[in-house]
Symmetry: C2
Subunit: 492 residues, 2 copies
C-alpha cells in the first residue's frame, strides 16, 4: 500500500488538535481511559483475519506468530487498563498540615505530560507499533498519542489507527486524542519531535534513528524526553561449571533463541562468552550442528535482509574471526541465514566492530582464556537490554565481581534462561543502559511504562472538593496512597 507523507501543515494541524484534546483528556477519569484501552483491544480482535492477512503481506511474518502477537497486544492493552485503574502509578502522597510547625497541607500525584509521539517498531507490527506498548501506556497516563506509522507496514498501521480512532469517537472523547501520520522520510519524524506541543517521544528501532530523535529533542528550546530502544547484543555468559554440567542442553536452548523470529527480536542473544576447554568445544560443536539444521527464513523487509547480509559479512570478514556454522539450506531472496562465528577474547577486546549488533539470526561465540578474561570482556561491553548467566549458584557466589559488572550493564539479568521471551508484567524492566535505550530509568514493557509519560504535581493548601479524586480525603478511587509517610488505602 502507498500512503502520502504528512505535510508540515498537516502535522501542525494534528498537533494543535492533540494539544486541544489534551486539555480535556488529561482530566478524564481513569475508568474512561481504561474503557478506551479495552475497546481498542476488542477492535483489534474484531478486525479478524483481514488484519492478519495485511500484516502477513507487509512483514513476511508467519500467521501463527502474528496471531500470537495480536493476542499479546490485546493483553497489553487490557492489563495496562487494569493497572491504569488500580492507580498505583499515580504515586499519590499526602502530608496533612502541621500548623504548629507552619507546614501547609501538601498533596502530590502524577499527571500527564502532554502529547506523545510514537514511532513503532518494524519487527512488532502490533505489539510495539500503532496500538502497542507506547500508545497503551501514554493513553493510560492521559496523554494524546500521535503515531508515525512504520513505512514497512503502513497498511497494517492504518487499519490499527482506524480501530483506535473509532474507539476514541465511540468513547465520546475528542478526535485529537489519537492521530496517525505516514512518513517514509526523516522530515516527518523531525517535524513531530521538534513540534512545540510534543511533550515526549517513544521509539523502537535502530541506534541511528533513536539517537537522531534524542539529539533533536535535547536541542529544542524546551527539551523533551525520548524513550528510544535502539538495539542490544544481549550477551550470554557461560560459566565453567554450568557448561560442564549441560553443554548440550545450553547449545540447543541458545540455537533456538538466536534464530527465534529469524533473529529479529531485540532480545536475541548476539554474543556468547565461555571459557576455553573441551566443554566449550562441545558446546560450539552442538550449537553449530543445531544451527546448520535450521532453515533460513524471510526477513521483515528487503532493507532488513540487506542490512543483515552486510553486517554479517562485515563481522565474518574481521581478522581472526572464524565462521563456525552456517545453515545448510541455501537462502532464498530476502532470507536471513542462521550463522555462528567465533573469536578469542583478545580479538574481541581489540575490535569494536565485533561489539555491534548484527540484527538477524547471528551470534558470536567468544573464547576466553579463563573467567578473569571473561570479566575483562564484560567490563568492555556497552549497555544492554538483557544479560544472561548460565551458572551454578556456587559460581554466582564465587564470581561476585563479574556478576556485579553484568548487573551494571543491563536492565534484565537472567539466570539459566534465554533472553528472548519478554514477559508482560509489572516486574519487567525492558530498557537498559545507553546505547541499549536512551533512558534506562524507564521500561517500555509492563505497566510501569506509564511512568514515562507523567510528571509529579504538588497541590498546596488546595480546597478538598477541588482536588483531583486521587488526592481527596475520602479516597474515592480506593487506591494505595502514602499518607503522612504511611502506605494505606484508608480515608483521611
Amino acid at each position: 500500500m502507498k500512503f502520502q507523507d504528512a505535510s508540515i501543515d498537516e502535522i501542525n494541524k494534528i498537533m494543535q488538535e492533540a494539544w486541544d484534546a489534551f486539555q480535556q483528556f488529561k482530566d478524564t477519569p481513569l475508568s474512561v481511559r481504561a474503557a478506551l484501552m479495552r475497546a481498542i483491544a476488542k477492535g483489534l480482535d474484531a478486525a479478524g483475519d483481514a488484519l492478519i492477512q495485511t500484516a502477513m503481506q507487509e512483514t513476511n511474518l508467519p500467521e501463527g506468530r502474528l496471531r500470537n502477537e495480536r493476542a499479546r497486544t490485546m493483553f497489553q492493552l487490557t492489563s495496562y487498563a487494569d493497572a491504569c485503574e488500580a492507580g498505583e502509578w499515580l504515586e499519590a502522597r499526602i502530608d496533612t498540615a502541621v500548623p504548629e510547625k507552619g507546614d501547609p497541607d501538601l498533596r502530590k500525584m502524577q499527571v500527564a505530560v502532554g502529547p506523545v509521539v510514537v514511532f513503532g517498531a518494524s519487527n512488532f507490527p502490533f505489539a510495539y507499533s500503532t496500538a502497542g506498548g507506547d500508545t497503551a501506556t501514554a493513553l493510560a497516563a492521559g496523554c494524546p498519542v500521535i503515531v508515525k506509522g512504520h513505512p514497512a507496514h503502513a497498511g497494517t498501521s492504518q487499519i490499527v489507527a482506524d480501530i483506535i480512532s473509532a474507539a476514541v469517537a465511540e468513547a465520546g472523547l475528542p478526535k485529537g486524542v489519537f492521530a496517525h501520520v505516514h512518513g517514509a522520510g526523516f522530515e516527518t519524524g523531525k517535524a513531530l519531535v521538534t513540534h512545540p506541543y510534543t511533550r515526549a517521544v517513544g521509539f523502537t528501532g535502530s541506534y541511528g534513528g533513536g539517537k537522531a530523535l534524542f539529539d533533536w529533542a535535547n536541542q529544542r528550546k524546551t527539551p523533551i524526553p525520548v524513550f528510544a530502544e535502539m538495539g542490544s547484543i544481549n550477551p550470554v555468559f557461560l560459566f565453567p561449571d554450568k557448561l560442564k554440567e549441560s553443554a548440550k542442553e545450553l547449545a540447543a536452548q541458545l540455537a533456538g533463541s538466536i534464530t527465534l523470529g529469524t533473529g529479529q527480536f531485540c532480545t536475541n542473544p548476539g554474543l556468547i562468552l565461555g571459557v576455553e576447554g573441551p566443554e566449550l568445544e562441545l558446546f560450539i560443536k552442538e550449537l553449530a550442528a543445531a544451527i546448520e539444521k535450521i532453515n533460513p527464513s524471510t526477513m521483515l523487509h528487503p532493507g532488513i535482509a540487506k542490512a543483515y547480509g552486510e553486517k554479517r559479512g562485515k563481522a565474518l570478514a574481521q581478522a581472526d574471526v572464524e565462521t563456525v556454522a552456517v545453515a545448510a539450506a541455501a537462502p532464498a531472496e530476502n532470507q536471513g541465514v542462521p550463522t555462528i562465528a567465533s573469536a578469542s577474547a583478545a580479538v574481541f577486546l581489540k575490535n569494536p566492530v565485533l561489539h555491534q549488533e548484527v540484527f538477524g539470526p547471528y551470534s558470536l561465540v567468544i573464547r576466553c582464556k579463563n573467567v578473569q578474561e571473561m570479566y575483562e570482556a564484560a567490563l568492555h561491553l556497552e549497555g544492554q537490554l538483557t544479560a544472561s548467566l548460565m551458572a551454578t549458584d556456587q559460581e554466582l557466589t564465587q564470581y561476585t565481581g563479574l556478576v556485579g559488572t553484568i548487573q551494571e550493564m543491563c536492565g534484565r539479568i537472567i539466570l539459566n534462561g534465554v533472553p528472548t521471551g519478554v514477559r508482560v508484567a509489572l516486574s519487567m524492566q525492558h530498557g537498559g543502559p545507553f546505547p541499549a535505550t536512551t533512558d534506562c530509568r524507564f521500561t517500555s514493557v509492563g505497566a510501569d511504562g506509564i511512568k514515562r509519560f507523567v510528571r509529579p504535581l504538588s497541590f498546596q493548601s488546595w480546597s478538598e472538593h477541588l482536588l483531583p479524586q486521587a488526592l481527596r480525603n475520602s479516597n474515592p478511587l480506593h487506591i494505595w496512597r502514602t499518607v503522612n509517610n504511611k502506605v494505606t488505602k484508608d480515608a483521611i
Copy 2:
C-alpha cells in the same frame, strides 16, 4: 579562604576511587546507608558555632537563618534516612512463575546508578550544598557522591565535606563514597560531568550554568541525566473576587515573600498578575508601602549583588515599565534594594526581558484588562517551580481553562499562600517544567529525590537465596512490595 582548583589528574583519581567504592556501596544494607546519613547530621550539629561563623562570614546570611538552615539540613538527612530504610523507593515488584503459560519468575527493584556529581547552591550553604538534598538522596540510593564546593562558600563546604568524610570512615565504608573538590572555573565542573564514571549530576544555580551541564551530559558518548534547578519567577495570580476580599492582606503577605532572604530563594514570587481596577490599585499601594519600609540587606556575595543591580536596572529601564516602589533606606555596598515594578499585560506579552528572573528582592506586577488577558499571559509563561493562585473556590471552578494552564506550567501549585517555604516532605514536588529545571519528572526536595539516582533492574529466574533482600520470598526488610499485582508486605 583560598583553595586550589582540582587538577584533571586529581579528578581522575577521585572518580576512580568513587567507581571502586560504588562496587561495594551499592550493595550495602539500607540500615548502613541510613546510619551514615544520621551520622552526618550529628556531625553537622557537633560542628557547633564554628560552622555557623564560617558560613556567616562567607555568605552574609544572618545567624538565625543559618542555624535554621542547618537544622533543616539535619532533618533532611534523618528523614531521608528513614525513607531509605522504609524502602518504598525500591519499588519492589514480584511476579511469580506461571509455568503453564511459560512465564518465568520475574522480580524488579531500583538499584543505584553510580557516582553522582553535585554542584551546590550558593543560596543554601547547608541545605542545598555539600551535605544537602542531592548528597543525602544519592547516598540513600547507594551512589558515591562527588561534590564540587561552591566557590562562594568554599570554607563552609570544606568543613562540611570533612564531616561527611569522617562519617564515611567511621562507618567503615570505602573512602571513595564521598569526595569534595574545589573549582572556581568551569573546567573542573566540565571534567566531572564528562568523566566516564559519572552517572548523574545534581545542580542548583543559574540557567546558563545548568544548561551548560545539561548539554555536556547529553553530548557524552554515553549521555547521563542532569537534574538542574535553574530559576523561576514563581507567578502569583490574583483573581478578582479574592483580591476584592483581601487586597491588604495579600499585599502584606507578598511583601514578606518577595523580600524573604533578600529575595534569594528559588521560590520568591517575581511576577504578580491581577485585573485592573480599584482593588488592584489598593493592592499595589499597600504592597508599595510595605516594600518601602523594608530595609535593604546584604546579598550572598558581590557577584550576586552586582547581577541583581544589573538585571533590576535592565527591567526597570524597559519601555512602559513603571517603578512602583523602592525601599526608602539607601542600600549599602552589596545590598539588595527591595523593588516593585509594574507594567500592562500588553507590554509584558511583547517583551521577553520582563519574563526573566531578577534574582533578588524584586517583583513585577502585571495589570491585566480582564481575566481573559491574565489567561493569555499565563499561556506565554515558561516553566516554573511554583505558581500561586489567590482565588476563591468559586473562581477556581469558574476559570478552569486558566487554572489548567497554570497547572501545566509548574511543579507545585499553591492556593491562597505564598511560594516561599518549601516543606520537606514526601508530597513535595520541587522541580518544574523546563527551564525551571532540566527534568520536571523528579524532585530535589523530599525523599522522592532518591528516585533521581536509581534505575530498575529485573532479575529473571534468579536463585532465591542470591536475590537482593528486597526481593526475597520472606520479605526480610518488611517493605511494601507489589506481588502478582497486589500491594502487600506479606511474604511469598
